[in-house]
Point group: C2
């Protein structure tokens, strides 16, 4: 079969996260639980890696561990469509607000740049 699993090192390589971070995310319920070999070593499936990339994308946008734990729980476990959609909408609103906050800052930077760049 074409479904290959990755060793922890390969998963770290593939996702750009450290082994410690992968284990931390699993402990915190953001990913997994990850399957193990009989000797206890983790084996990351393609689905695991895809989910880790989703989590990483959300982390990069500023979502906290608590929110990501709930994100994972809601999308994995039994949850109503309403619960899921409401949560996703809330995060969406927060992210758009954060974009606005950054835009404000960019405007301020632009003002300063213009101020220092002009000959006056």
């Amino acid at each position: 079969m074409t479904t290959q699993t990755l060793t922890p090192g390969e998963a770290a390589e593939a996702t750009g996260l450290s082994l410690d971070t992968l284990r931390y995310y699993e402990r915190e319920g953001l990913i997994g639980p990850i399957d193990r070999t009989t000797s206890g070593r983790r084996t990351y499936s393609d689905g695991d890696v895809a989910w880790i990339e989703t989590v990483t994308c959300m982390r990069a946008a500023g979502l906290g561990i608590d929110h990501l734990r709930e994100f994972t729980r809601l999308l994995r476990e039994e949850a109503t469509v309403e619960e899921r959609v409401r949560f996703l909408h809330e995060r969406r609103v927060e992210l758009l607000a954060q974009i606005e906050a950054i835009r404000n800052a960019v405007v301020v930077l632009d003002d300063k740049i213009a101020h220092f760049s002009q000959p006056g």
Copy 2:
């Protein structure tokens, strides 16, 4: 004269920061130094408050204390136009990149929302 100064409590009220945070920012070189009364109490000028609001705007956009210290130093102290503009441009690039990261996350959220919202 119309130039009024604010007490620490008033400055906190005006900026939305705590007294502890105002003192912390001053210790870290992000604001001030703030003038004092003879008895040692801080008196915040309108200019101080305006600068605190600028700092707060940058913090809200995610700039770290280290960057804000340099921001303050470059704009306050003797620094060449090139230094100032280069620094401001660097921060601007970072902020735009952060907006893109958040946009990516919003797209992912939208996909999930669409996935859970559709009847399939």
